[in-house]
């Protein structure tokens, strides 16, 4: 942080996010020290959002109070499911009761909290998911992350799926589940503001919006990525991934940066679309111009854009550009058609 401060000192911080890995293993005193150090280097926005990612095990929940006292004002809990067999399938250490207990505690301790669920699980019917989601909405305050199960290469799930042991919903069923999710959340006052994120108006995660709108962020800690605009140039930064190496490098040379690449203007435009179109509100003309130096129309091939507008996958108006519901459901293909 000290290192990054030399380049960005004087700027205002709008959010801090303790996430990735298991930050709740960290001593709350360390959390407090990190926040204090940040405050020494940068000025904090009045409404600064400081989020902490935690698992709903009883050990982690026991630290909630201390974490709150360290300055954290929002907690994001990896609940993942409200069903014990699903939790064991997902390889989680907590069970349903612990999850509900953690949510209750978070509700009492933090001004804002969010939790996540994973759906479109193997054998999960639309009815079962509807029930689970309805129940989750009872515990939710003002923010929910709802992810469809993604099976990553290199995990045992990938092999199971390939060998037919694991059958995940096909695109048609996954699409139906996605649509049900949008509908239920909207009816309950938590519309999607991003592909997988739902919030009561005004309670969106400001930190993540910085990512999606292509704002600047410093990545501190092993493997963390950052985006920094310095004198008009945009840099993509990446920290050394292994904690030991990262730490020894920081101790020796004062920083843990592994790569620092210039993001050229073409890539910058791609990133703005890749991330911005995930948001329900899309990218505003002002933000786009501010971050790319171009009007939206001048940044893409007119033929490609027109085709997607005509296909009702995108909307372009005075506010900016955004994907329609049907466009968001097929965003990867839309992006490929727009930028490919």
């Amino acid at each position: 942080m000290n290192y990054w401060a030399t380049e960005t000192g004087g700027r205002t911080i709008t959010s801090i996010f303790f996430g990735g890995g298991t930050p709740s293993l960290m001593d709350p005193a360390t959390t407090a020290a990190v926040i204090e150090n940040a405050a020494d280097h940068w000025s904090f926005a009045d409404n600064i959002e400081i989020t902490f990612e935690a698992n709903p095990t009883s050990i982690e929940a026991a630290k909630f109070k201390d974490i709150r006292n360290a300055g954290v004002n929002r907690v994001s809990i990896g609940v993942q499911a409200l069903d014990d067999s699903a939790l064991s399938f997902l390889g989680r250490e907590h069970d349903r009761d612990q999850a509900l207990e953690a949510l209750k505690l978070a509700h009492e301790i933090f001004p804002r909290f969010s939790f996540d669920l994973i759906y479109a699980r193997p054998d999960q019917t639309a009815e079962a998911w509807t029930t689970e989601l309805q129940e989750a909405l009872n515990f939710a305050s003002d923010h929910l992350s709802l992810y469809q199960l993604t099976i990553e290469k290199g995990t045992p799930f990938f092999a199971y799926q390939r060998d037919g042991i694991l059958v995940t919903p096909d695109d048609d069923r996954a699409a139906a589940l996605f649509e049900i999710t949008q509908e239920i959340c909207e009816d309950n006052g938590l519309p999607a503001y991003e592909i997988s994120n739902h919030a009561r108006s005004g309670n969106e995660c400001r930190h993540n919006i910085t990512y999606w709108e292509g704002g600047d962020y410093i990545g501190v800690g092993p493997g963390a990525h950052g985006r920094l605009t310095i004198n008009e140039a945009v840099y993509a930064t990446e920290q050394i991934p292994g904690p030991e190496n990262w730490l020894s490098n920081v101790e020796e040379s004062g920083h843990g940066t592994r790569r620092r690449d210039t993001v050229d203007s073409e890539s910058r435009i791609e990133e703005l679309f890749l991330m911005g179109l995930r948001l329900t509100d899309g990218i505003s003309r002002d933000v786009f111009f501010d971050r790319s130096g171009l009007e939206i129309e001048d940044a893409v091939e007119p033929r490609r854009l027109r085709q997607l507008l005509e296909g009702e996958f995108l909307i372009l108006d005075n506010d900016g550009i955004r994907a329609t519901a049907s466009g968001r459901l097929r965003l990867n293909a839309v992006l490929a058609a727009l930028l490919g």
């Binding site: 997988s196 985006r227 097929r330 965003l331 490929a336 490919g340």
Partner: protein, 600 residues
């Protein structure tokens, strides 16, 4: 030199797997031509593919010295001939260098279609034919039944058929003895001016072109200057020799003998098979009867699966052609498949062999378009065009009438399978000429349009008869037919590589087949994609690829941006292999797969 009376030139006529090569090996072995160690199975078939498929493609020759029961030593020249119909041309030129043939029939299987075709060619060449019943060691052998079958089906006297087992060696002496006693000796004049028949030629990496000759009159010696009458080219003979079966130089070749010459010839194309070779200053003006040149009858496009292999493909085709002047190729460009070649072949087997050699010997991954034949298109303005590429098909409004090649096909099949075979022939517009029974086998002779045969006929025949049918054909004539060009449209744009010329009655079935296949192969896109088969402007079959329902990454935060962008770059790279059809891009692999499945 060997006296003419002590020379016998013969070839072996047989169906695939009836033991021709094994018998040849035995004959060589008995005559001391190959030691046990050298006698790998089937010495004569030198190419891997020939050995694997049990067929001979290029003619091979071997000189044997046999000490007969009369105490005299005879020079026996064996010309091995290709066993397949596609190579009829090679068969007939090999046969023309000999005076007689051994007709080898498997004593358990009986006469097959190719046996028939080749035995008729031998009879055409005025051969004396000695029937040989092979594999009599097999428990299933029925020599008596097969003997009468030869008489019934071929109409040949088989009373003196020799019973052998090339595998165990039984009867081999009898075969050699009968060659001496029953075949006529060649004729020729040693003192007359040189006259030699150019039987075959092939390229050897060390010696250049090797020319196989049969001496009619005169003597051919090393150091002579000779003239090839057809091309008027003069060559200096570097070496003269025979195969025994190893290549072995000799001083001279005399009348009646078969051997080879080398003369620093660089290209096979410079040697015209069937040509007459005379001395440079010869006064001979009348050449020997030559052969009809072989012409390609089956055509298809050959494209590299990886566009980067195009140059390799070009080089490989050139190399193959060095030794196989019967196949033709020219560059072709396809919007769907990229750069490739339009190739012509003697038949389907020839096509398969060339394709397989390209893949195996040159390590190329290839895709072929639907095989086509030569159509004679009579235009309204009186012009007649010969067309084998659907891309060249004229506008239907300009066409007056179209003629297509027909063949006479002979199919031999066990009784039990006759029904499905007849049904298949009917379905392919066949006309029955003859249906006869010999024992438990039936012989069906049909007239069939060649274009119905080049489209999966072999495969269907094989599957409906569980591989028990044998099939042979010869081109007969051209007949008028109601042929149409079926175009496949993806997103309303034609895919050139999938166009085909078919009979109107088959058009819907074939068009629908490709549409259905493509439907499974083309990945879903943002937009619905219609896949249509059409004749001119009229759509005859249609499928629709429904639009993609969902494709979105669930989690994407600050740490994922770079990865997402790299993924996009990779997709862009992949687009180089995409073909644009209006608003949609279709991977080339979909077309390749469609053709692949179609060919199976």
């Amino acid at each position: 030199m060997t006296e003419l009376s002590h020379i016998r030139n013969f070839s072996i006529v047989a169906h695939i797997d009836h033991g021709k090569s094994t018998l040849a090996d035995r004959l060589i072995q008995v005559c001391g031509g190959g030691s046990e160690r050298e006698l790998k199975e089937q010495m004569l078939d030198t190419m891997d593919i020939e050995r694997e498929r049990g067929i001979t493609i290029k003619a091979q020759t071997v000189r044997l010295n046999y000490k007969a029961k009369d105490g005299e030593t005879y020079q026996l020249n064996l010309m091995d001939t290709p066993g397949h119909v596609d190579f009829t041309y090679e068969v007939s030129r090999s046969l023309s260098a000999c005076e007689g043939s051994l007709l080898v029939v498997d004593a358990s299987q009986g006469v097959e279609a190719q046996t028939l075709a080749n035995v008729y060619l031998a009879l055409d060449a005025d051969h004396e034919i000695i029937p040989v019943l092979n594999k009599i060691d097999l428990p299933a052998a029925e020599p008596e039944r097969i003997r009468s079958q030869i008489e019934d089906v071929i109409g040949l006297d088989a009373s003196e058929a020799i019973q052998v087992s090339a595998k165990t060696g039984v009867g081999i002496e009898d075969v050699l003895e009968s060659l001496v006693q029953r075949l006529p000796a060649p004729s020729g004049e040693k003192d007359a001016p040189l006259k030699a028949l150019l039987v075959d030629s092939w390229y050897d990496a060390y010696l250049g072109v090797i020319v196989l000759v049969r001496i009619k009159d005169g003597v051919l010696k090393r150091g002579m200057k000779v003239k090839f009458m057809a091309t008027d080219a003069v060559h200096h003979i570097d070496s003269v020799g025979v195969f025994s079966p190893k290549r072995q130089n000799v001083d001279a070749l005399y009348p009646g003998e078969i051997g080879f010459i080398t003369a620093s010839i660089k290209h096979v194309a410079e040697t015209q098979v069937g040509d007459t070779i005379v001395e440079e200053k010869s006064t001979i003006t009348e050449p020997l009867a030559g052969f009809q040149p072989s012409v390609p009858v089956v055509f298809c496009g050959l494209f590299p699966v990886d566009a980067a292999d195009f140059e390799d493909l070009r080089d490989s085709l050139a190399k193959l052609r060095l030794n196989d002047s019967s196949f033709h190729y020219e560059a072709e460009t396809s919007a769907a498949l990229g750069f490739g070649f339009r190739c012509g072949f003697l038949g389907l087997l020839h096509l398969e062999i060339v394709q397989e050699r390209l893949q195996r010997e040159f390590d190329l991954d290839l895709i072929t378009t639907a095989p086509s034949v030569i159509y004679r298109v009579h235009l309204k303005n009186g012009d007649v065009e010969e067309i084998h590429n659907p891309a060249d098909w004229p506008d239907p409004t300009q066409i007056d009438r179209i003629e297509e090649p027909w063949i006479k096909a002979t199919i031999l099949v066990p009784d039990d399978f006759l029904g499905p075979v007849l049904a298949l022939c009917q379905e392919r517009r066949g006309e029955q000429i003859e249906l006869t029974y010999a024992g438990s086998r039936a012989m069906a002779v049909y007239r069939l349009p060649l274009n119905e045969v080049v489209f999966d006929f072999y495969d269907r025949l094989k599957s409906v008869t569980r591989g028990y049918a044998s099939f042979d054909y010869q081109l007969e004539d051209y007949r008028e037919g109601e042929l149409v060009k079926v175009t496949i449209l993806v997103n309303s744009e034609p895919v050139d590589a999938l166009s085909m010329i078919v009979h109107r009655t088959q058009s819907e079935y074939r068009g629908r087949g490709i549409c259905t296949r493509l439907k499974d192969l083309v990945p879903r896109q943002l937009f619905k994609i219609p896949i249509q088969a059409a004749i001119g402007g009229k759509v005859i079959a249609r499928e629709t690829i429904s639009a993609m329902r969902k494709d979105v990454t669930a989690k994407c935060y600050g740490g994922d941006v770079s990865r997402k962008r790299k993924l996009l770059e990779k997709q862009k790279e992949g687009k180089k292999r995409m073909r644009q059809f209006g608003s949609v891009e279709i991977p080339q692999s979909a077309f390749i797969e469609a053709l692949r499945i179609g060919g199976e």
